[in-house]
Point group: C2
Chain length 108, copies 2
DNA sequence: ATTATATTTGTCAAATACTGACAAGTCTAA
DNA sequence: TTAGACTTGTCAGTATTTGACAAATATAAT
């Protein structure tokens, strides 16, 4: 998927022939703010991912992948970080999952 | 590196025989808050990474890798996201770097 | 061209999250 | 038991994000 998350939403919306106001209502979002999201001037709020998935019948896992990958990529891009960071992150996730990490060890 | 970022700081500090107050002064941080950071009860602030590197003579790239990998891993862990997200993120970073993405396309 | 609808942009107060600071507590070693 | 080190809780100040609204612009139909 070679597009920004906002563009992705806009495509979904226009494919279904919905206006900003109509989709905004479904997502509990002002049409003006949805416009900004689609144009990359505001962030889509993580807490609305499930709602977005259900509105368009999307696989939530796929949607989360799209959403968070953009979040991480932006951070790496703007901090000019090595992509090596992603390999290290993968190891850490594995470790956290093995250890069943809880709050206290790590601020979650 | 199989330790949390707070533990990492604590190790650096104790190796050098510094107290929380002493290191706190160098990092412009209250000793109480530094304690929380070392114990995983507060986040280390990204804006102090360079300072931390210079205090201990660390490679800033390595430090950023440690810091952001933990950030990403925590997010993936707490949202129960597939680690596939990391591969997608890598593609996106490449793309952003090729395209020299600026504000407007993407909220940075 | 005029009207109606859709979209974009700017702004701002309210809500939320983060930070620095301090006080009071526990722990440790001399 | 005293001093210094560390931990924990709290909270006001600050910064950031969000929802909401108004006004401007764009688009399409008549």
């Amino acid at each position: 998927m070679k597009q920004y998350f906002g563009e992705y939403i806009r495509n979904l919306r226009t494919e279904k022939g919905l206006t900003l106001t109509q989709l905004g209502a479904k997502l509990d979002l002002d049409s003006a703010n949805l416009s900004k999201i689609e144009n990359g001037k505001r962030e889509f709020d993580e807490k609305r991912l499930e709602l977005l998935a259900s509105v368009f019948g999307l696989d939530i896992e796929h949607l989360k992948t799209e959403f968070f990958s953009e979040l991480f990529a932006k951070k790496i891009y703007e901090t000019n970080c090595s992509t090596e960071v992603l390999n290290v992150a993968e190891e850490k996730v594995k470790y956290y999952r093995e250890q069943n990490v809880k709050q206290g060890k790590l601020k979650l």
